[in-house]
Amino acid sequence: MRKRGLISTFIFIILVSTVFAVAVNASVLQDRLYDKYGVGLNGFIEGRQGWRLQDDPFEKNTSISEMRMQLDLSKDDDWGVIKLKGDLVGDQVEEKAYAELRELNLAFSPLDFMDAKIGRQTLTWGTGDLLFINDLFPKDWKSFFIGRDDEYLKAPSDAIKTSLFFDLFNIDIVYSPLFNASQYVDGTRLSYWNSMLGRTAGRDFILDDIERNSYFRDDEYAMRLSKNIGGIELGFYGYNGFWKTPEGLDAKESKLWYPELLAYGASARGALWGGIGNLEVGFYDSRDDRDGGDPLVRNSEIRTLAGFERELAHDFTGGFQYYLEWMQEYDTYKSTLPAGTAAKDEYRHVLTLRLTRLLMNQNLRLSLFTYYSPSDQDGYFRPKVHYKITDQWAIETGANIFFGKDYNTFFGQFQYNTNAYAGIRWSF
């Protein structure tokens, strides 16, 4: 513990002094690195502060309070690109300072029809807007719910990505020798429904999981086959790994664990009625509970979504999605559920709405994203105002509003966490 404190202090000192040095010398440093070594340096420094809008008996009032510096170094050459992107963070809520490596990778084209990217990287595919079916790359839900920049919803993967491009179709294969888990709500800074206790919990019960930490045994494969036919983008997906959030419970140890998951699906996206339409479907094969008889492991699911987005007026866009999670082997699930446990629905329906309005030469962006589940009777609203004061300075304010009839549904469990935040960022 003392050692961790020392490291935190050390990182914090580095953070403050680097921020200071960068802020004073950014442009000089940028030019020198580029002229001498051909290395591009960019990044930002930001402060962000947010509070809960109601009392949460299990968490602090402050939902976010941090200073962050991101440095992004890249070297571009004929043979490829090396990239390093990392954050130094001073976090007052968790009372720690830490460094976070977000990207460290080498991208190159070994063959005319082949691209490769090796190392820590951010990965995304699929067609959903803030809904993910075949994108089984890690997410950071904590960052998303406390109001960090959207960039932080995507957690990095340590992986090798190989892409092959043929006339007939393209194929991407992502291999991670070690499972990359998502950051889930575990009680450290967001309260949640704890099914073991049968009540909401937070810092009084921080969830622990059994890490998947064996290289090459706890590995993941993700694959995509894609093709663009006359403006319609088609995708076929496969995944072999584990549930990205720990969907299994080890009752003896009171720990969560990551059951095996096999997933496959398809998507289509194209122009439709003057806008963009998309469809996606996926089958989640929960290999550790195929017959649905283990109440402590999440059942298999079919997930599907349909979306449509279009411009409603100048610089005003609207988007709508319908999403469905359909639990398989529902009867078995219900009959094996321990007495007294609230049963989940067989079908979870979610509707989302996105409205984005750009004003003042697109320097002011008003946006609203909402999730609403008519089956769970809960929802989550994300209003946000972002203003670019200059090309360097930007301010933003927003909220994460959770509501629900019950305290044990997906969004309803977070209702004590409803928060508002504001941030200021200087980019260089």
């Binding site: 960019n42 990044g43 930002f44 571009d76 004929d78 690109v81 991208a107 084209s109 691209d115 990217k117 990287q121 951010t122 990965l123 995304t124 595919w125 959207d150 960039e151 919803l153 995507k154 892409s163 491009f165 393209n170 894609s226 663009n228 403006g231 983008e233 996206r269 194209g270 122009a271 003057g274 806008g275 963009i276 998309n278 987005e309 279009r310 411009e311 007026a313 100048h314 610089d315 866009t317 750009l358 030469n361 697109q362 320097n363 670019k388 200059t390 090309d391 360097q392 930007a394 980019s427 260089f428």
Partner: protein, 264 residues
């Protein structure tokens, strides 16, 4: 014999006069087609570095630096554009790609590198500001010549002056625009847009035209917003035509991994 010779000479001279007149005064459609080709289809492909300075009514400026690649599928027809942003920092390495069609809505994509996200963008409204500047999407990729009724209202010593009235007035914010086309090289030198009350509210002007590899090329352009008082000036540098851009650059592969042609 003599009379028939006279007739032939007479007919010939009539033909000659007619064809000479045709050479001197092309039809409106010819002017429009040639102006469209000169402005948007020079060479089979092209590359340019663009420096935009956006000034608002209060005099505050913002910069946008990007590299633009263009590939013509057919002259006067389908085209592909690839825009790679360099500045400012918050849009750096973002890519905007357009597949432009003549008889259907364009396909547009945006690549956000921080999320590794390839986003498809709805493209029904082409008269929206391009990256917050006073240039509109249509100024960048060209307004289809089929969308307006064109009239030659004046021929001056240097210019053809054309009045262009939209066939679908509800779909645009102007009632008509007047365009000055250079008689020598068919470059659009100036366009003035008039609103529904007939007031001039917008002006697009080619401030400097240079010859690049034999193609007359706008190297400096300006849009004035007369209604609100702002303006955007674009300066084009390192322009090159016919560099042999491969069609596959304009696909998802190169959104995620920008080609050498833009990274330098």
């Amino acid at each position: 014999m003599k009379r028939s010779a006279m007739l032939v000479i007479g007919l010939l001279s009539v033909f000659l006069t007619v064809s000479l007149q045709a050479a001197e005064a092309p039809t409106v459609d010819e002017i429009i087609d040639r102006a469209n080709l000169a402005a948007y289809y020079a060479g089979d492909d092209g590359r340019a570095e663009v420096m935009m300075t956006i000034t608002d009514a209060q005099g505050r400026t913002r910069k946008r630096d990007f590299v633009i690649l263009r590939h013509d599928v057919a002259d006067g027809g389908q085209q592909k554009f690839y825009v790679y942003f360099k500045k400012p920092s918050d849009v750096r390495k973002m890519v905007f790609m357009v597949h432009k069609y003549i008889d259907q809505d364009d396909d547009r994509w945006l690549y956000l590198p921080a999320l590794d996200l390839v986003k498809r963008i709805a493209a029904s409204d082409k008269r929206t500001s391009f990256v917050g500047s006073h240039f509109l999407y249509e100024d960048v990729s060209g307004r289809s010549v089929k969308e307006d009724i064109h009239e030659l209202v004046e021929t001056t010593a240097d210019y053809y002056v054309l009045k262009n009235t939209p066939k679908d007035p509800a779909g645009v914010e102007f009632s008509y625009y007047t365009a000055w086309v250079d008689k020598q090289n068919f470059m659009l030198v100036k366009a003035e847009y008039h609103d529904k009350d007939g007031r001039k509210y917008r002006e697009v002007e080619s401030l400097e035209i240079k010859n690049v590899q034999g193609f007359p090329t706008v190297v400096k352009a300006r849009v004035l917003d007369l209604a609100s008082g702002g303006e955007t000036v674009s300066v084009f540098k390192n322009i090159k035509y016919n560099i042999g851009l491969k069609d596959q650059i304009f696909t998802e592969r190169y959104l995620r991994r920008p080609p050498r042609e833009v990274r330098k």
